[in-house]
């Protein structure tokens, strides 16, 4: 149980830091709202709902990328990651806590973004919401892992999207599929499988990412 106590302490710290600094969530909210406004005016009238569904997923992935880019900034600024790595907790707890905190920010942004999408384009299907929820898990798990890899490099701003976007393609395929087809079960199952597989991989490999 100490593992989850460590995760809780680390995730609580991330939420507290965001509450104090307000660096991540406001920029995610402004970005996703701005994207929907731009899409609303750039899509020709009479465009299909399929096109709008695609745009929803573009907005989600890039909003998440914004949050992921900020995820390890507090650790990078004063090399605090070294102290966390030295602590006797399982190093995967750092990944899990950071993923949960990033997930909280992403979900908070989507609580605003999804109704906005429904307002600007067309209503939301339950399968879209389920797809977003499942994709969020994968985005935050994989994105946090990639963020930790990128944070120790000089080209971190470049490396994060370069590594993350190819890994997010299956999530976009699953997400768009779950939003557009009549029987979305197959796509939702695919998203769930992706989450499970990559969560296991990231959990097991995180230790090797944070030690030089």
């Amino acid at each position: 149980m100490t593992y989850f106590a460590d995760v809780r302490a680390l995730a609580r710290k991330d939420l507290l830091l965001e509450l104090r600094a307000r660096d991540t969530l406001p920029s995610m909210l402004l970005f996703v709202a701005a994207v929907f406004v731009v899409f609303h005016f750039s899509l020709p009238s009479g465009s299909s709902t399929l096109a709008a569904s695609g745009l929803l997923w573009v907005a989600i992935v890039f909003t998440a990328l914004l949050g992921l880019g900020r995820a390890f900034v507090p650790e990078r600024e004063q090399r605090v990651l070294d102290a966390l790595v030295l602590a006797p907790c399982d190093r995967s707890a750092i990944w899990l806590a950071k993923s949960l905190a990033t997930l909280a920010f992403l979900v908070a942004a989507e609580i605003v973004a999804l109704p906005l999408f429904a307002l600007f384009f067309h209503g939301l299907r339950w399968s879209t919401i389920a797809g977003v929820a499942l994709a969020d898990l994968g985005i935050c798990g994989v994105g946090t892992f990639v963020g930790a890899t990128a944070v120790v490099t000089r080209a971190r701003e470049l490396l994060l999207p370069l590594l993350f976007l190819p890994l997010a393609i299956p999530l976009i395929i699953g997400g768009v599929g779950s939003s557009t087809v009549d029987a979305p079960g197959r796509y939702l199952g695919f998203l769930g499988l992706y989450d499970l597989l990559f969560a296991l991989l990231c959990w097991a490999a995180f230790e090797y990412v944070v030690v030089e």
Partner: protein, 194 residues
């Protein structure tokens, strides 16, 4: 406690440490001196387990939770207060009677009155004092200190001297410094890097 045999470290093409041999016995105090860029910090990071040698063998015979590492940076969150930072590390290190120990350290290093202020409002010297509190919080057996007197004023340096005097002979120390005269009174062995 620490034994190095032919330890080297490269970063790409750049060789920072070459064929280093030394031993530091349990409860010993080793001072590491050398000019900037000689690899002092790299060696300390290797001993702390934050990095792995490119060549040679390095044995550090102490569990991770018994190591206290003081780096160039204080390794604390700037937007948290001193108490919040130490609470976090106290939980991760499973420090018993955490609040009492945090209070005792903050008082000892003269940070009690500023304990509820964010670290971002601290001077560099106060941050270094907080970093020392963080290092000592879990009562480590091996203390790895990278230029511990950096940024400390006269009073802070005296507090650190007193803390070292109290622990020398009970704990093992690996300390890098540009001012070896300061730690001469404690050192049992030395290592000069070129």
């Amino acid at each position: 406690m620490i034994a190095a045999r032919g330890v080297g470290r490269r970063f790409g093409d750049k060789r920072v440490l070459r064929a280093l041999d030394f031993e530091l016995p349990d409860r010993g105090f080793m001072t590491i001196i050398g000019p900037n860029g000689s690899g002092k910090t790299t060696l300390l990071r290797l001993c702390a387990g934050l990095s792995r040698p490119s060549e040679g063998e390095l044995h550090v015979d102490v569990a991770r939770e018994r190591i206290g590492f003081l780096a160039h940076e204080p390794l604390v969150y700037r937007e948290l207060t001193a108490v919040e930072n130490l609470e976090l590390y106290g939980k991760l290190y499973r420090v018993r009677e955490r609040r009492e120990r945090i209070g005792m350290l903050l008082e000892r290093f003269g940070l009690w009155d500023a304990r509820r202020e964010r670290v971002s409002s601290y001077s560099r010297g106060m941050q270094q004092r907080l970093a020392l509190c963080r290092v000592l919080l879990h009562e480590p057996q091996l203390l790895i200190l990278d230029e511990p007197y950096t940024a400390l004023d006269g009073e802070g340096a005296k507090l650190l001297d007193a803390q070292l005097a109290e622990l020398v002979g009970e704990r093992t120390f690996l300390v890098s410094t540009h001012d070896p005269a300061r730690t001469d009174q404690f050192a049992t062995t030395g290592l000069a890097l070129a």
